[in-house]
Symmetry: C2
Subunit: 337 residues, 2 copies
DNA sequence: GCGGCATTTTGTAGCGCTACAATTTAGTGC
DNA sequence: GCACTAAATTGTAGCGCTACAAAATGCCGC
């Protein structure tokens, strides 16, 4: 590639057309569907593109064609890494159709989901994914296909919903602990929607077997600190507890800390199971048993739902749950006798 | 807000103008500089905007004004959370000037930095930040102000460079361990550029005091697993080691695992210090002493450099190092006698 | 060589917005 | 009320691209 006068304005489709000796329309065609153009012209155009360092203006394309081949993804916080699996899942299903994903976070702490969505909509995204807990009822989509991923509350009217089966995952955790022989079981919960479903599924499955879990922190936070203090409370009030299910891996880490502080050992004295199958859980140092909510699969389904709606605006909104998977590692074992 | 015929095309500036009884130009003015418009018209326009649910088309604005008030940030992998601090730092300095940040990752593993940058450039970003290790020499910027953040290799010609002082951070780790009285010190390194600087700074500071560090994994990876195996090697060959400096927190976690596997205790038997001050390090369970590279400050400087270049294209490229900070927690202590 | 048809190529118009000059309106002093 | 300046408002002309209809070209058999 030759660098032509670096300080000049970027080359346009007209520059390419002139250099290749064809019309701008032809260049546009080459860009969109090279197969429709004769070999001779196609090569001339591609050579000119390379030579000039031409890069089509996304803004102009958007304006002229009124579709961007891109879909917007609103997440809550970059630090909540679950979106990464969601994103990869979406991309795997989207790239083959030529779609891109644009990310925006909702300013953690301020919950500006609508604002983030607006920003994305201003860029003419063809579809919108909300992967953050909507605080108030939002209108969101405003015309473009919208799907809520990973949350169940506050789904805007007309939006698809594709989310992890947190009830099912809670049930899996319960079954795992029951299967190992535990009966005096604690649960560290939190106030969020996901935590509520995990709790419900966990509790229901235990009750089927006649076991009543000791639930802590139902209306509290879900940080490591919360996990720590909840575990302390649990060990104070139910010292015979042999297993703890934490609503997420971070809280499980807190539980590990509290257990260690009591001089107890995991899993010999107490089993611990987390949720999310995060990096934390996978760590060799922690070896945390955890429930993986398969956000990658959620992402794939999100993409499919979006594509379906984009190509056929008459399909109605759907709701689907993705089944999680239990990953057994080193923090769960049979209870001591 | 009234919802007007949801299935119709989105309202344009002309719709707003008609409804407010003014010209499109006036609406545009209200959008850009409300103070320049009389109260009466301004309010009429704003009411119309609200009523119609009007959202300016970013594409049209970009095309017409040829500046987007947005800067592009290329990161390597969303999982490497250091970019979050960088981003927040940038945003804190950018939002007051009305600029937005657009993110793109370079497809982890494939190192498609140029591709990611191209995508951003196609959206007419006014500035570009490369926060990923450039594998080959890239042209990057191609006209727009560019700054490389957090890396020192492969800086494109004409780009600014603002990065963490990894040498300084390594020195801080060394000083900390020396100050505690350690003299038999190991270092878990890696093949990357950042690791090399941390190693160099660490080694230099130790040598000033006549201490020669035992360096492992200089040409290896920087995962938890690498930290684990390197530590095993270290403890095999230098069992008298009393302190270990890991090139990052993840490796430090691996070190903790290996130390525990040997039946040794941290920090009683061995002190461990990491780098990055990640969530991991802050965890109450781990309490890992770590060097914080203050990526937030890097972000602020990146933003300032960019703004300076955008507003005055004649300023030359600059290079600046940001001083890191040591965060002492529970994994470092005086050596046993 | 020529009609008839498929393929390739091109002009024209316009997407929604902003810059800028031109025009209108308001404000001032006398 | 008038000349004059400042402030507010508007019309015009694109920004770079694509859709689409129209035109040009190529290809076939006879």
């Amino acid at each position: 590639m030759t660098l032509h006068s670096p300080k000049t304005r970027r080359p346009t489709i007209y520059d390419v057309a002139k250099q290749a000796g064809v019309s701008p329309s032809l260049v546009s065609l080459v860009l969109q569907n090279p197969a429709r153009v004769s070999d001779k012209r196609r090569e001339a155009v591609q050579a000119a593109i390379l030579d000039l360092g031409y890069r089509p203006s996304r803004a102009a394309t958007t304006l002229a064609s009124s579709r961007t081949k891109s879909i917007g993804l609103v997440i809550d916080d970059y630090r909540n890494l679950w979106f990464v699996d969601l994103l990869r899942g979406m991309e795997s299903a989207l790239t083959e159709h030529g779609y891109q994903v644009m990310l925006a976070d909702s300013r953690p702490g301020e919950n500006r989901i609508q604002e983030a969505a607006d920003g994305l909509l201003a860029m003419h995204v063809d579809g919108l994914v909300i992967a953050a807990e909507p605080s108030a009822s939002m209108l969101a989509g405003a015309g473009v296909p919208t799907v809520v991923a990973g949350w169940r509350a506050g789904v805007p009217a007309g939006a698809d919903l594709i989310t992890n089966d947190d009830d099912g995952g809670g049930g899996m955790a319960a079954s795992h602990l029951l299967g190992l022989g535990h009966t005096r079981i604690g649960h560290l919960s939190g106030s969020g929607g996901a935590a509520a479903h995990r709790r419900a599924g966990f509790q229901a499955r235990l009750q089927e077997s006649g076991v009543e879990p000791r639930i802590v922190g139902e209306s509290g936070g879900t940080s490591e600190e919360d996990g720590y203090t909840s575990t302390c409370w649990l060990l104070d009030h139910h010292p015979d507890t042999t297993a703890i299910f934490a609503a997420n891996d971070t809280m499980a880490l807190g539980a590990l800390g509290a257990i260690r502080a009591r001089g107890l050992t995991v899993p010999a004295d107490i089993s611990v199971i987390g949720y999310d199958n995060s990096t934390l859980a996978k760590s060799r140092y922690l070896e945390l048993t955890s429930v993986d909510n398969r956000s990658d699969l959620v992402g794939v389904d999100v993409a499919k739902a979006l594509l379906a709606r984009i190509h056929d605006s008459t399909v109605g909104p759907q709701r689907r749950l993705i089944e999680p998977a239990l990953v057994v590692r080193g923090t769960t074992a049979r209870p001591a006798l």
